[in-house]
């Protein structure tokens, strides 16, 4: 059909040259009529008669024009254009309504886009690695002892690498990397840098290739190898200004743990898309990567976090079966068979491992934001209904003039689509701003959050909810016109005649729905908020406020005596700084990284199950417990005497002390801790070492002596002064002692706690914002309905007041009406909330899903808001002047 193609093309062309074609047609028709008139006159008609006859024969100029347009152009597009033009005109005329509607929609849709993007990033989108479904994380089956039980020794790792048949490759990273564990020197002040030690094949396993330079070579993973480093993209940009010539050059990098200063060759830069912290340690940033040399770590115990890539066609279950056979046979260390053997391994998809725990929270968030959209739709339906009442005559007129019902419906739907479209556009920009903010919140410990953005899926989602929303709120008024009787609408001129009760009821149902939805949101938010407050209320075992920590650099040449002297000097000088109440050093801080050893009570009958209990280890200086605000329950703190005399003493926490000696006084007894004997000198209250919500495990605090070496060192200072003010003087003191002290930040301990509770705070904040939004929308809805009904009943109220009803009486009536709606809504809402609350019970902390305080608080809050929303129109009603009300119509 060649001609149909040609015709379609011509139609499109005609559509875009309307004006010219119309003009030509007009000329044609004019000359047509003139010719007809002339001919008629030639036949002897008078001019008027000739013209009349010509017009009769022509048969309607306007119809001919319409037919011409329809034939040549794209009629449906014409109609759409017409609808759009009309829509814009009406919306512009009703500017207040349009603004409110678009704003409400923008908030609802924007919130949905933002949450969808977060959900998409964390839950739905695959990890940013090639064939990421093949990637697995391998951890011990019962990870009791923090990070140490999520890791494997170098020997066990190698055994598994060699013996397994399920994996293409297995590799890992050193799990005990603290922030700023390296110091980059060279030009100017030394800069702290976070370097991740990665085992051979780590990037190959993930499928990440350097964007510049090369990856590590095998010879860089052997003892005494030429040191090499890979830079992360942001660090390369920040520290080296994105200089490509840095590849192959050396930089001075010193390791804060073994304190070797080395010149390290930069062999490559990782791609911008690779964010180690986003996947493996939320909120953390990693600046560079260096080889984990197995031979250097053989005797250090478990320190590798393992990641593997399955072979094609191997299932998780098969790999798990193999691991269940292999891991129990692995020795902790080949050189020391006496340490024993026997690991376990739980294989989990990397994606599941990273974000599985968040699934429930995110789904709740998604539902909450969905509720918001629903409330928005209900609210808009209500607004449109109210507006429809004012426009019913317009529509009646149009249908009297020949517009078919379908045409009117289409007009209404166009309007709601335009509103939703505008809302979606504004919502997108809101979401974009929110996400840009979230992506740069390093303080929120959610995985992958730094990679959040609005992508194609989010845009598709936006379209979907915008169209979906307009279909939900659009038809309400449309139903109305279809149900309306034309004549009645035309007749129903004044405000006086009461409008169909049916519509009144529909609006009331909408308001009740809105209140019920808001109720569910409020209860959900209330419960989560109370859980969060409970979490904040927990006795952490230390005082995070008024304490701050800084990473200390020093050179002890690897000797314990030197270290003791340096530590003592650092603590002595720090304590002398004005405003400092206490100071001390520890190698690890609570709620950041941790490591664990084993502990047992010497002399006690070894219990059957296991001799050693896993225990968190902290190498501390005297004064540290006080600086952290930890509470000594019994005995004494470590003293400088213990350190100087190289005494093996230990401070335990309550839980482990009770566990080891079963209620007998532990002070003075001997424990086997980390392979050495140590005398128990003190017991402290339990410290929440890994998170606020988990129970405290076993902890011990050891002095830094020959037996017990620290992993880095943090100076903790307790002071009422703000950390920023204190930071300068502390840094000055440290620089005096060691000019090579790197410029690291002075961080409040509260920051550690905030970081640990940040996921919960994040969810509570969002749900609370949504609940607030829901409440606002619901109150708008109530106000709208009541206010509208007052307007409509102006005359009625006028008559009643003329007959003697008091202002009070009128007010009470209106408010009573409001409260009736609110109560029905709340009743429905409570019923729904009880069910919903049970569903989110797993997210709650020390809070019952039926928490009476939350529920009653919600009832009071909603009641008050409803009262306020009803009071304003009620006041207006009571101020109606009967005379005016009766006269105006």
């Amino acid at each position: 059909m060649k001609h149909s193609l040609q015709e379609a093309f011509n139609r499109v062309r005609a559509f875009f040259s309307q004006a010219q074609l119309d003009q030509e047609l007009n000329e044609e028709m004019t000359s047509h009529l003139e010719m007809a008139v002339e001919e008629n006159m030639r036949r002897g008609m008078s001019r008027e008669e000739a013209r009349r006859q010509a017009l009769i024969r022509f048969g309607g100029v306007q119809q001919a024009r319409e037919l011409h347009r329809e034939t040549r152009g794209l009629p449906w597009l014409d109609v759409l254009k017409q609808d759009l033009r009309f829509t814009f005109r009406t919306l512009r005329r009703d500017r207040a309504f349009s603004t409110v509607a678009v704003l409400i929609l923008a908030l609802g849709i924007g919130a949905n886009i933002a949450v969808f993007s977060v959900v998409n990033t964390i839950l739905l989108r695959p990890l940013p690695f090639r064939d990421s479904q093949q990637l697995l994380r391998i951890v011990e089956k019962d990870p009791k002892a923090g990070e140490s039980s999520k890791t494997y020794s170098a020997d066990a790792t190698q055994d598994f690498q060699q013996q397994n048949r399920s994996f293409q490759s297995v590799s890992g990273y050193f799990a005990f990397t603290g922030p700023n564990n390296f110091k980059l020197s060279g030009n100017g002040q030394p800069v702290p840098a976070t370097g991740m030690l990665i085992a051979e094949g780590f990037f190959e396993t993930l499928g990440v290739e350097p964007s510049l330079g090369r990856g590590f070579r095998s010879e860089e993973f052997v003892h005494q190898a030429q040191p090499a480093a890979l830079l992360s993209y942001p660090f390369w940009k920040r520290q080296f200004g994105g200089d490509r010539s840095i590849i192959g050059h050396t930089v001075d990098l010193s390791d804060k743990v073994d304190l070797n200063n080395r010149s390290v060759t930069v062999v490559g830069v990782l791609p911008e898309t690779f964010d180690f912290g986003a996947v493996f340690s939320p909120g953390a940033k990693v600046d560079l990567f260096v080889p984990y040399i197995m031979d250097d770590f053989r005797e250090d115990g478990n320190d590798l976090a393992l990641v593997g890539r399955l072979k094609q066609g191997v299932t998780l279950a098969q790999a798990q079966n193999e691991a269940d056979i292999l891991f129990p046979q692995f020795y902790f260390a080949h050189k020391h068979p006496e340490y024993g053997k026997g690991y376990t391994a739980q294989l989990t998809g990397l994606k599941e491992y990273v974000s599985g725990k968040l699934r429930r929270s995110l789904i709740v968030l998604w539902c909450a934001v969905g509720l918001i959209l629903l409330i928005v739709c209900v609210n808009l339906s209500n607004l449109l209904l109210a507006r429809m009442a004012a426009r019913s005559r317009e529509f009646a007129m149009r249908s009297a003039l020949g517009a078919r019902r379908l045409r009117l419906l289409r007009q209404l739907l166009t309007e709601s689509l335009v509103l939703a479209g505008a809302g979606a556009l504004l919502g997108l920009s809101i979401a974009w701003a929110v996400l840009a903010y979230l992506a740069h919140q390093g303080s929120i410990a959610l995985p992958l959050l730094s990679t959040v953005r609005i992508d194609g899926a989010a845009l598709a989602w936006t379209m979907l909810i915008a169209v979906g929303a307009s279909l939900v709120f659009g038809p309400a008024p449309a139903l109305r016109i279809s149900a309306d009787n034309l004549q009645e609408a035309l007749k129903d001129g004044g405000n006086g005649t009461s409008e169909g009760r049916k519509h009144d009821r529909m609006r009331s149902i909408l308001v009740v729905t809105e209140i019920a939805l808001a109720c569910v949101l409020l209860v959900g938010a209330g419960l989560l908020l109370r859980s969060f407050l409970r979490v904040l209320d927990i006795d952490l075992g230390f005082e995070p406020s008024h304490a701050a920590a800084i990473s200390v650099d020093y050179d002890d040449e690897g000797k314990a005596e030197n270290r003791a002297a340096i530590w003592q000097e650092v603590v002595r000088r720090a304590s002398m700084i004005p405003g400092v109440e206490a100071a001390g050093i520890s190698d690890n801080l609570p709620m950041s990284r941790n490591r664990s050893w084993g502990i047992a009570a010497k002399g006690e009958q070894a219990r059957a199950d296991n001799v050693f209990t896993p225990i968190f280890v902290y190498i501390v200086s005297p004064g540290y417990l006080k600086a952290m605000g930890m509470r000594l329950l019994e005995g004494r703190d470590i003293s400088w005497d213990d350190v100087v005399n190289n005494r093996s003493v230990v401070v335990l926490n309550e839980t482990v002390a009770r566990q080891l000696w079963q209620g007998k006084d532990p002070i003075g007894r001997t424990a086997l801790a980390g392979g050495a004997e140590a005398q128990v000198i003190g017991v402290i209250a339990d410290v929440h070492e890994s998170s606020a919500e988990d129970n405290a495990g076993a902890q011990m605090y050891l002095p830094s002596t020959k037996q017990f070496g620290p992993e880095g060192s943090y100076l903790v200072v307790r002071s009422k002064l703000p950390p920023a003010a204190l930071g300068t003087s502390v840094m000055k003191t440290l620089r005096e002692m060691n000019p090579g002290q790197s410029a690291s930040e002075f961080k409040p301990i509260q920051g550690l706690v905030d970081h640990a509770t940040s996921p919960r705070r994040f969810f509570v904040l969002l749900v609370a914002v949504f609940a607030g939004l829901g409440l606002l929308l619901a109150s708008l809805g109530i106000y709208g309905v009541i206010s509208y009904s007052v307007t409509r009943q102006t005359q009625e109220i006028g008559i009643r007041m003329a007959l003697g009803a008091s202002e009070r009486r009128v007010q009470l009536d209106v408010i009573g009406n409001t409260l009736r709606l609110a109560m029905i809504g709340i009743a429905v809402g409570i019923t729904a909330s009880v069910i919903i609350a049970r569903l989110i019970a797993a997210l709650l902390f020390h809070t019952a899903p039926t928490d009476p305080l939350t529920f009653s608080g919600m009832v009071v809050l909603l009641g008050c808001v409803a009262l306020l929303a009803g009071y304003l129109p009620a006041r207006r009603a009571s101020q109606i002047d009967p005379m005016v009300a009766l006269r105006t119509n």
Binding site: H3, Q6, N10, H32, E39, F58, G59, A64, L67, R72
Partner: protein, 115 residues
């Protein structure tokens, strides 16, 4: 006056226009309308205005071409002429209408008693 006039069947106007242009050469809209009225012996109920929709349709299909010109009495008018494609189409349409005429003739000729 109009009670005995024929209502135009869908699509017949297009054929009439093509045939008129084929036989008369280039004509303006009014000329075409008048010509059809005359040929049909004023039996067709033609709103002259509808001719323009037909003209634009034929033009878009490439069956006729249009050019601005001047009429006999010096009036600016658009002159339409049939194209090569239009002539082919006219031939097809003519064949179709001939067949239809025959079939209709036969069908309507069936007598009640010949069952």
């Amino acid at each position: 006056m109009g009670e005995s006039k024929l209502d135009l069947l869908q699509g017949t106007l297009d054929v009439m226009v093509l045939q008129t242009l084929e036989s008369m050469g280039a004509l303006h809209g009014y000329g075409i309308a008048r010509r059809i009225e005359q040929v049909s012996g004023d039996e067709v109920l033609l709103n002259q205005g509808t001719i323009y929709a037909s003209l634009v349709r034929l033009q878009q299909r490439g069956w006729i071409a249009a050019k601005w010109g001047t009429s006999d009495n010096n009036r600016k008018a658009k002159f339409y002429s049939i194209t090569r494609a239009g002539q082919k189409q006219l031939a097809r349409d003519t064949a179709y209408w001939q067949r239809l005429k025959q079939v209709m003739g036969r069908v309507l000729a069936i007598q009640g008693g010949e069952r």
